[in-house]
């Protein structure tokens, strides 16, 4: 039975929508993932050198032993945020004559395939082989490896267990997150406990008493069984799923938008779309996080080389005021893929539809620009750069994004989370990046080379304003372009 399950699992991987992409996209993505893995691998491989740099006087194994527990604490925090519950996968098996224990074993096994269970190996194994083994011998090295696996498995099932519990009671997740954060605060802020000492207490003693590896292994086994028993008692779809108990949903409206008539109604709907769905919400969260991106360029102590790097500031001004246009706009109109037929048939005029997109982008970019005004702390020039890039964003980038939206045939499943979600990513999304990021520099680079950087900024700003004023012309062009492609777009969105 387990073998059948594994076969199904492999099929589901190879036949999933995510893997069935065009070869080119798969290659690009494969390369990106490989590069990321290589970075982590390099980090693991040179961990001994890095630790030597950081603390040249201390014993390598000592420092190493001191940091492992920190890793797992952050690992737990990250898992809690990002790891998906592998649940609906069992739905087709629940009604069949298969023993519950078999199903749960399968579910537990499936949950182990996660990126989080790859990092510890890549990060720590090279160090163990390079330093611990020559230093303390094969037995101790084996104990280290087993302990690392033990903690990894413990974290895996602990985070899943907590997540499942919190499905039934939302407060558990709040409590758990608060607990983890206060643990970190107790260490760094208040110095009540020290994970470094705790970590050293265990891994340090592992060198003299290798049998201590039994502790994490036993903990992991115990956690596995706790998770197992919990699942066995709650193997019902409503308990398994990642849907939380639903609260009463109220109808809301944004009165300001009434001023814009039907276009305002459409914007109102889209704002609701953004706020009421997981994946689109994360585009907004990115937008807020981006506000702090500028600090990397403007605070000299963070990055001394960046302080005089004007082009970097221009780039970052574009991101701070326009990241929403880029991150949300690149999937347009895929966000509305699930009801695109309805829009086409309804009395929505496509010109209004486009106007609504422009209004939405302009509104959010304006809010983003207003939020970046505190950068005036680093001089008026910072605000000037941001303002110019804001004009560029609402003038040119909105247009670029919507031009590509007419060429995007991939729908977005709004209910899925954003982390590691490749759905809706295709050649269009990879292509769109180039014009968005490069065009302002076509103006900026040559002029700034001849020391006319401010002139370049003024030209960028004026270009942006020109495009804003000629919007109705571009909307007509986009509409004509859309009329030609609408069948292909609608057809693409119908393919789930």
């Amino acid at each position: 039975m387990t073998i059948t399950f594994i076969q199904h699992e492999l099929k589901s991987f190879w036949r999933s929508k995510g893997t069935g992409k065009t070869i080119a996209v798969r290659i690009v993505m494969g390369v990106l993932i490989l590069i990321m893995l290589l970075y982590v691998f390099a980090l693991g491989f040179f961990l001994d050198k890095i630790l030597e740099e950081v603390a040249p006087t201390e014993n390598l194994v000592h420092i190493f032993s001191g940091i492992i527990l920190y890793y797992y604490l952050f690992d737990l925090l990250m898992r809690f945020q990002l790891q998906e519950l592998p649940t609906l996968k069992v739905q087709p098996y629940l009604h069949l004559p298969i023993k519950k224990n078999t199903i749960i074993r399968y579910l537990s096994f499936v949950s182990l395939q996660s990126f989080f269970n790859l990092w510890p190996f890549i990060l720590f194994l090279p160090f163990i082989f390079k330093v611990v083994k020559p230093d303390s011998g094969g037995l101790v090295a084996t104990a280290f490896i087993l302990s690392i696996i033990g903690f990894m498995v413990l974290n895996n099932y602990l985070s899943l267990y907590i997540k499942r519990r919190s499905n039934l009671n939302g407060w558990i997740s709040v409590g758990f997150a608060a607990f983890l954060v206060s643990l970190l605060a107790a260490d760094y802020g208040w110095h009540i406990i020290s994970f470094k000492n705790l970590s050293f207490l265990f891994f340090g003693h592992l060198q003299t008493m290798p049998w201590l590896f039994l502790l994490p292994v036993l903990l992991a086994t115990a956690m596995y069984y706790i998770n197992f028993l919990y699942l066995k008692q709650n193997l019902y779809l409503e308990d398994l799923g990642s849907q939380k108990k639903e609260a009463y949903k109220t109808s809301t409206e944004i009165p300001v938008l009434n001023y814009f008539g039907k276009v305002g109604d459409l914007v109102g709907n889209e704002i609701k779309l953004i706020l009421r769905n997981k994946r689109s919400r994360s585009a907004l969260v990115i937008c807020v996080i981006m506000m702090f991106y500028g600090l990397m360029f403007y605070i000299p102590s963070i990055n001394p080389k960046m302080a005089n790097f004007q082009a970097g500031k221009v780039f970052c001004g574009m991101f701070m005021t326009g990241i929403f246009i880029i991150s949300y706009g690149q999937h347009m109109y895929g966000w509305q893929g699930s009801h695109f037929d309805g829009i086409l048939v309804s009395k929505v005029n496509f010109r209004d539809f486009l106007r609504a997109k422009f209004l939405l982008f302009t509104t959010i970019s304006t809010v983003a620009f207003l939020l970046t005004i505190p950068y005036v702390h680093f001089g008026w020039h910072a605000v000037f750069i941001n303002f110019v890039m804001y004009l560029w964003n609402i003038g040119v980038n909105t247009l670029v994004v919507l031009f590509f939206a007419n060429r995007n045939y991939k729908r977005i499943d709004l209910s899925k989370g954003a982390a590691f979600n490749w759905e809706g990513v295709g050649a269009t999304q990879l292509l769109i990046g180039f014009p968005l990021m490069i065009t302002p520099f076509i103006i900026y680079a040559p002029l700034s080379f001849f020391h006319h950087a401010d002139m370049a900024l003024i030209i960028i700003g004026i270009t942006g304003v020109l495009f804003v004023f000629t919007r109705s012309y571009w909307i007509k062009k986009l509409e004509a372009d859309f009329q030609e492609k609408r069948y292909t777009i609608a057809e693409g969105f119908r393919n789930k």
């Binding site: 639903e246 709907n269 779309l273 037929d341 005029n349």
Partner: protein, 240 residues
């Protein structure tokens, strides 16, 4: 009201719809029936300009649906959940659709008040988004949103499939009533032969993309159709 000329759709080399000519006059109530894959939904989609026909054209009120958008003012349709904006509450959705037709909120509220029985207390003020409703209740939202637009032409694809018996009866009465009193033209597809024969004056029977029978409903129609569907092969040879 509707005119179809040489409408043809091909998917992967297979002709899925091929309708040389059909005309539906104003005030007619038409039932569209046929087994799975007969091409009913594809025909609907071409009538609504959602897919591009290989050849031919569909006219609503004399306007080619692929060329203009005026027909959208007078027609309403509900084919599947893809027509609903599922992250809105039903109320928000009704206000949105009403707003497209310049109806005030008060007007929409008035309209909805008349549908209390049809909704059976499961749609309004339940604090749910449309996506959290059952398929049957989503269908009720879709049908009500269509009627809210007081259309001259209404198209429904299998509206009876997911709704409960009480609602089926209410919907049938509603359709018959609107057809009689307001002269609303309706096209309804269904797999339930008794429903269609009860509601519709005229039945179009589709098979493999073709309309093979075009009959005026009479007392014997149901028997006739049942005979066809229990021995489809005979009818097929007849048609050829």
């Amino acid at each position: 009201m509707i005119e179809v000329k040489n409408l043809k759709k091909v998917y992967a080399g297979v002709i899925v719809v091929n309708v040389p000519q059909i005309e539906i006059r104003k005030g007619e109530s038409v039932g569209l029936i046929g087994n799975n894959g007969a091409g009913k939904t594809t025909l609907f989609r071409m009538l609504l300009d959602l897919i591009r026909p290989e050849s031919g054209e569909a006219l609503i009120n004399g306007e080619n649906v692929a060329r203009g958008e005026k027909w959208k003012d007078t027609s309403a349709a509900y084919l599947d959940e893809g027509f609903l904006i599922d992250y809105l509450t039903p109320e928000e959705y009704f206000y949105f659709i009403g707003g497209l037709h310049n109806q005030s909120r008060a007007h929409v509220d008035d309209f909805l008040a008349g549908y209390g029985e049809f909704f059976n207390g499961e749609i309004l003020k339940k604090g749910k988004y449309i996506r959290d409703l059952s398929k049957g209740n989503q269908c009720k939202v879709g049908v009500a949103a269509c009627l809210l637009q007081s259309p001259e032409l209404l198209m429904l694809d299998e509206p009876f499939a997911n709704i409960d018996p009480s609602t089926q009866i209410r919907l049938k009465n509603l359709l018959k009533d609107l057809n009689k009193t307001k002269g609303m033209t309706t096209i309804v597809s269904s797999h339930d032969l008794s429903h269609v024969t009860e509601v519709c004056d005229r039945i179009l029977l589709m098979e493999k993309g073709k309309i093979i029978k075009d009959i005026v409903t009479s007392a014997s129609t149901l028997k006739e159709l049942e005979a066809y569907f229990s021995a489809g092969i005979i009818a097929e040879t007849e048609a050829e």
